[in-house]
């Protein structure tokens, strides 16, 4: 299945932040959205999720314009994983995950036995079965992020939209979330995620786009995007990019340098 973004411009009201952006995201892979703060990543993200109407351009999912989908239909194809947050009420983890089934339930229905089974299965797959009866609000940030991924998977979507899935997580939790992301992509899901870590592109063997500060887009895989020049143009910093061998596989290391650049920040 293909998410085809055609010549989209988006923004709030009269202020357009992203202009003429096109991209094709395929299921079975990770697509990273990189760029500095304020460049419009979130706006683009929300436009793809249909939370904001595009200023111009079209987005097609499986050949059909996303504005032609009903909320229910769209939610069965595209699921949203927000950043780990604290909701005002202490729902149990199982209740949170089963809410992912709302798009598979009738307008006035409650979750069926099968919906609970799907939720339980997802909890097991993600290795967070032990959390199922805990209150969501009492979990750590990493656990909450996994629960939100579980809720999205309970929607049985083709695409996952992940908004900075590793932000605010400690070193270990970042890795476990990223590992899950790669595994889900290998299993056939399309994953579109925004991230502040350029290395994620290489780690997930992802394609993606880097949005530069002047509004240009650099498309490609990590070899094309992760260059010192591109990172300088995007973030205004110097960075060291290194290819290292580890047990026969090539890994990319991206280390920002603290010294000031010639063009300043």
């Amino acid at each position: 299945m293909i998410l085809d973004i055609q010549n989209i411009s988006c923004g709030y009201g009269k202020k357009t932040v992203i202009r003429n952006f096109s991209a094709r995201v395929e299921s079975g892979g990770v697509f990273c959205l990189l760029g500095p703060n304020g460049v419009g990543k979130t706006t683009l993200f929300k436009t793809i999720l249909r939370l904001l109407p595009p200023v111009s351009g079209q987005i097609y999912l499986d050949g059909k314009n996303i504005s032609d989908y009903t909320d229910m239909e769209f939610a069965r194809k595209v699921a949203y994983v927000p950043q780990a947050h604290t909701p005002p009420f202490a729902f149990s983890v199982r209740d949170v995950v089963v809410m992912g089934r709302i798009s598979h339930m009738g307008a006035f229905s409650s979750p069926s036995k099968k919906d609970y089974e799907t939720a339980d299965q997802v909890l097991q797959e993600l290795g967070i079965w032990r959390l199922r009866e805990r209150a969501y609000t009492e979990l750590s940030g990493g656990e909450r992020q996994m629960v939100l991924i579980a809720r999205a998977l309970a929607q049985e979507p083709m695409f996952l939209m992940m908004d900075e899935p590793t932000s605010n997580l400690d070193f270990g939790n970042q890795v476990s979330v990223l590992r899950t992301v790669c595994r889900l992509a290998r299993k056939g899901l399309g994953i579109l995620m925004t991230t502040h870590f350029p290395e994620h592109m290489a780690q997930c063997n992802a394609k993606g786009v880097l949005i530069l500060r002047d509004g240009r887009y650099i498309f490609g895989n990590s070899d094309i995007i992760l260059t010192p020049e591109n990172l300088r143009d995007a973030y205004g910093i110097e960075a060291l990019i290194m290819d290292v061998e580890n047990k026969g596989t090539k890994i990319k290391i991206c280390q920002p340098l603290l010294e000031e650049t010639a063009q300043g920040n």
């Binding site: 927000p82 005002p88 202490a90 809410m99």
Partner: protein
């Protein structure tokens, strides 16, 4: 207090149903004209058989003309206010929200005060009050739509609700100011304090019943959508919820419930705020059980308050005085017990 791993909703549900039935039975015996339980049974038996004996005539009329409509009205009003408060708290994602947040009570108060000032018959006062209550909320929704242009409407809605409430409150004050101080002013003032005594009639009971069935029914059916709405607008949409439609349905149902209660029984504060809150402390935030248990709890609480209102002093205490006097200590006790899980 509630813990996510305990399944005690069915127990609480069954307990509240038994409690409600018991309380209804006991409430029938209370009052200036005390009727012992066995006599009530006797009257019911004779009523069913179709011939009331001479000695039971008075008990019969007290029971069927005054007490039953009054008790059922209190039960339904408690359930209605709690359901609408519970729904609003989830949708506005704030446990401190009450059913009045969009101005329905202030609107209904103006309608009633106007009707009383103009000396309209009681049915017309109810109708005017109901219409003003609904109109206030529609005005808030319209304002939020115009100002918000589709973005951040919930916050704008709450702000518009605050503004419209205060406008309608000053209109009530204005009506009180021009009202005749010997007759009209006390009448309006007492009306606004709420009472089930003047409201107890079968026609009111049927109206309230229809309102509760329609509004409460919709809210019960939308329980899982309200669950999703508690995660915020964006996430709810991404879960597949048509948020505009669900929000409109929730607001209209809650407004119907509150406006119906206020136009018949007067302004009754607190119930819609504390009952869902206390229920959440007991059974957790899932509307699957929170909604029906809030309604049952609200019904029991309101009946308790009404019994107090008609037994504590000779004559009658206004309901809204007692909802806070009884509700506040109960609420503080629950907060104290549940403070670890709360916030």
């Amino acid at each position: 207090m509630w813990k996510a791993n305990e399944k005690r909703e069915p127990v609480i549900f069954a307990f509240l149903i038994c409690l409600l039935i018991l309380m209804i039975g006991l409430s029938l015996t209370f009052g200036r004209y005390g009727i012992p339980l066995d006599k009530i049974m006797e009257v019911f038996g004779q009523k069913l058989a179709g011939n009331i004996s001479e000695e039971n005539r008075q008990a019969d009329s007290v029971l069927f003309v005054i007490r039953i409509p009054r008790i059922l009205l209190a039960v339904m009003a408690g359930a209605a206010l709690s359901a609408s408060g519970a729904a609003y708290q989830g949708m506005f994602r704030n446990p401190m929200v009450s059913p009045d947040i969009l101005g329905v009570s202030s609107g209904a108060a103006v309608g009633a005060a106007l009707g009383l000032l103009l000396d309209l018959p009681s049915m017309a006062v109810h109708l005017l009050s109901f219409l003003f209550g609904v109109a206030a909320v529609l005005l808030v929704m319209f304002l939020a739509k115009v100002i918000g242009r589709g973005n951040g409407t919930l916050v704008i809605m709450v702000l518009s609700g605050t503004v419209i409430s205060s406008v309608f409150s000053s209109m009530t004050s204005l009506i009180k100011y021009v009202a005749d101080t010997d007759e009209k002013l006390p009448e309006i003032t007492f009306w606004l304090m709420g009472s089930f005594a003047r409201a107890s009639s079968y026609s009111n009971m049927v109206m309230m019943g229809i309102g509760l069935l329609a509004g409460g029914g919709v809210l019960l059916l939308l329980r899982w959508k309200i669950n999703g709405m508690a995660f915020g607008e964006d996430e709810a949409r991404a879960l597949g919820i048509n948020t505009v439609r669900v929000r409109t349905a929730v607001i209209l149902s809650s407004t119907l419930l509150t406006a119906m209660t206020v136009c018949i029984c007067g302004t009754i504060g607190w119930v819609g705020l504390i009952i869902p809150h206390i229920t959440r402390l007991l059974v957790g935030p899932n509307y699957k059980s929170l909604m029906p248990i809030s309604m049952l709890g609200g019904a029991c609480f309101m009946l308790l308050v009404d019994n107090a209102a008609r037994t504590i002093v000779p004559g009658e205490l206004p309901i809204s005085i007692l909802t806070s006097l009884i509700g506040a200590p109960l609420f503080i006790y629950m907060l104290f017990k549940g403070r670890r899980d709360w916030l």
